[in-house]
């Protein structure tokens, strides 16, 4: 199963790319793979298999999700972004 991962804000700066593809059936599995591939992203944004406070994930630009057990479908887009978008 492949999902598209899009990075915004600090997660993009840490990942060094705006978008990538990733395997995994759950959000937690996607995080695990991302952490292995992008150590700087992992150091800043992940903690104990979850996103740290201040960062959040969104499914297909629709629903914000935070449970690592969230099941994913093939081809879905996971957005990882800074939760605080105040200006």
């Amino acid at each position: 199963m492949q999902v598209v991962v899009e990075f915004f804000g600090i997660p993009r700066a840490r990942a060094g790319v705006p978008v990538t593809t990733c395997g995994g059936e759950t959000l937690g599995q996607v995080f695990t793979e991302l952490a292995a591939r992008f150590p700087e992203l992992a150091e800043t944004c992940f903690e104990s298999g979850r996103l740290r406070p201040g960062y959040i994930a969104n499914l297909d630009g629709q629903q914000f999700i935070d449970d690592p057990k969230t099941l994913l479908n093939d081809g879905q887009a996971i957005l990882i972004l800074s939760a605080d978008v105040g200006g």
């Binding site: 915004f8 804000g9 600090i10 700066a13 406070p53 201040g54 630009g61 605080d84 105040g86 200006g87």
Partner: protein, 597 residues
């Protein structure tokens, strides 16, 4: 008394008098400072009775108990008046040395009434006031005015000034200090109506702290946390990083809120232009975050830089459909120099562009996507030249002039142009906009943070969620009265408990988190009470019909009916303890200690 001087300076520009008016400790404890104390002062001065641009209308610069302390981001002040755009309560915050110097002049606020006989500078030297002619500063940009004042009066003076827009009473003119602005609601027009070009202040009077040792420990801890992940976005990217995030969520206002997605966003995003144009970072006095990102214009060798914030990018970029980064940066700098609020300027210009498209304004040069036209419009607004004279009144008054039901798509609430959060996509924020005391506003209601979480379905917010809007508004009221920077809010586990400790350390009061929760409610209600006295009606707590009639074109789920918004507004009012229509009962005023104000 610790942390306060226990008085404010009341300056009458007509008579030249300057009184020191006592502020009781009980008042200071109930309203703190900044926005809260400003609300108290506006009620006391009966500002709701006066046209905001009348000579008698009071204009207050309000400091706070934390100003001058070692707490990071505490060098802030509020500028408070009846709003030139809204004719409702208006509080605008700015930062840096003016707050420190103003408080060292020996007062907790400066209230200015009356009108000077000629364009003047108010000089406040350690609490002694005098007026100096400022005819030589007429028409100068905000930056040049501050430079000339520093040259004339010395670097130990801190200055708050208006640019050409304030002199011309543009209803969204700013008051500028050191390149920063008390931006929203037209504070600069209120100052301009007093023929006051500038205030120069210095002083030597420091307040004492009740528990300096505890205060320094808190300051160290707060500074350390301000370097952590909660503020990384502001330090490394600045607020401009919001642009692509909101665009991806179809929440980036585009073409006068006709769309929530801007195809040209990448071209003006900091991620795209940053490598070639970012020069440096800057920060306010007493701040460890350093959120200001300076971008250079044209050739990097000129050193010609401009601060860039998300709201500038949205208002002067996507809202006007401009995807030329150089022109957006130039427009942003023009607003800085002319002393214009970028959100209201961009909102009014975008509204005019749509009116041109619909044949309601005869100005074929003013079209979506034309960045040079935006620049030309900004200059015309600041000089009130031609069409600029009409645009200088803001989108609500312009719509009222134009007629043809154009008010339906004028992007404002209570006259204040809507900031860069599409209400149909972010519906808790939509509620915050509708009920905001100063109009559509993201600083007094931070409800967008609820929408960007798993707490609500952002496109289907329900009445039960109104409490979340109340909570964000209360937190903002506290932060804006203490005053601290909102960019710190992510570092607090419990804002009310931690700031109670801060307040205890500076004042010696045995303040609790619960007391501060009540204080926040009191401050929000005091602003509402001001609005009621100024003529507020329940019909004002809504959004323009565009948002209630039409889903977003590319996101049909982003739909908000007038019925559902009315339910949200009523739920908000009830959550506040008011009637469903938003009326405050005498008992509520008594509980909050507002019955005597």
């Amino acid at each position: 008394m610790h942390a306060y001087h226990g008085c404010y300076l009341r300056v009458d520009l007509a008579s030249g008098s300057c009184q020191r008016v006592p502020l009781a400790e009980d008042v200071l404890r109930r309203f703190l400072g900044g926005s809260g104390l400003g609300a108290y002062l506006m009620l006391q001065e009966q500002a709701a009775r006066f046209d905001p641009l009348a000579p008698e209308a009071p204009l207050a610069f309000v400091f706070s108990p934390l100003v001058g302390s070692p707490l990071t981001t505490s060098a802030k002040f509020a500028v408070v008046s009846r709003g030139a755009l809204t004719e409702r309560f208006n509080d605008s915050l700015a930062s840096s040395g003016f707050a420190i110097a103003g408080k060292k002049a020996g007062c907790d606020a400066i209230v200015i009434v009356g009108q000077a006989a000629q364009l003047s500078t108010l000089v406040i030297d350690d609490g002694q006031c005098r007026l100096e002619p400022a005819s030589g500063l007429a028409g100068l940009s905000a930056n040049k005015t501050e430079q000339q004042l520093k040259a004339a009066w010395g670097a130990d003076y801190q200055t708050a000034v208006i640019g050409p827009s304030g002199e011309q009473l543009v209803r969204y003119a700013t008051i500028s200090h050191s390149g920063r602005h008390a931006g929203r609601g037209g504070t600069g027009a209120v100052m301009g109506a007093k023929r006051l070009k500038a205030i120069a202040v210095r002083g030597t009077q420091r307040t004492t702290w009740a528990d300096p040792e505890a205060l320094h420990e808190m300051a160290k801890s707060l500074s350390k946390r301000s370097f952590g992940p909660a503020t990384a976005k502001y330090r490394e990217l600045g607020t401009a990083a919001n642009l692509l995030t909101l665009n991806r969520l179809q929440a980036l206002p585009t073409r006068n809120f006709q769309q929530g997605y801007f195809a040209g966003a990448e071209a003006i995003a900091p991620e795209q232009i940053g490598a070639a144009r970012r020069q440096t970072r800057a920060s306010c006095a007493a701040c460890t975050i350093g959120c200001e990102h300076i971008y250079h214009l044209g050739d990097r060798s000129t050193g010609d830089g401009v601060r860039l914030e998300y709201e500038n990018l949205f208002a002067l970029g996507s809202l006007c459909a401009v995807d030329d980064a150089e022109l957006v940066l130039k427009a942003s700098r023009a607003c800085d120099e002319l002393g214009l609020d970028t959100i209201s300027a961009g909102g009014t210009i975008a509204f005019a562009m749509e009116c041109v498209e619909r044949g309601l304004i005869d100005a074929p040069w003013l079209t979506f996507g034309d960045g040079q036209a935006v620049l030309n419009a900004l200059e015309a607004i600041a000089r009130r030249d031609g069409l600029g004279d009409r645009l200088a009144e803001g989108s609500r008054r312009l719509a009222e002039q134009i007629g043809h039901d154009s008010i339906r798509f004028a992007p404002q609430v209570k006259g204040l142009e809507i900031p860069g959060y599409e209400p149909r996509s972010l519906q808790t924020m939509a509620l915050g906009f509708a009920v905001g005391s100063r109009g559509a506003d993201h600083n007094r209601s931070g409800a967008y943070e609820v929408d960007l979480s798993s707490a609500v379905d952002r496109r289907r917010v329900q009445a039960d969620d109104a409490r979340l809007a109340v909570e964000t508004e209360d937190r903002a009221a506290l932060i804006d009265s203490l005053i601290l920077c909102k960019f710190l809010r992510g570092v607090f586990d419990d804002l009310f408990a931690e700031t109670a400790e801060m307040l205890r350390a500076v004042t010696g009061w045995r303040v609790t988190a619960d007391e501060l929760r009540l204080t926040a409610r009191r401050i929000v209600t005091a602003k509402k009470q001001f609005n009621i006295l100024a003529g507020w009606t329940p019909a004002e707590d809504t959004l323009p019909e565009r948002f209630l009639e039409t889903p977003l074109p590319d996101d049909p789920q982003a739909s908000l009916s007038s019925k559902r918004l009315a339910e949200l507004v009523a739920a908000y009012h009830v959550e506040r303890g008011w009637s469903p229509e938003g009326q405050i009962g005498p008992k509520d005023l008594e509980i909050l200690g507002l019955d005597s104000e």
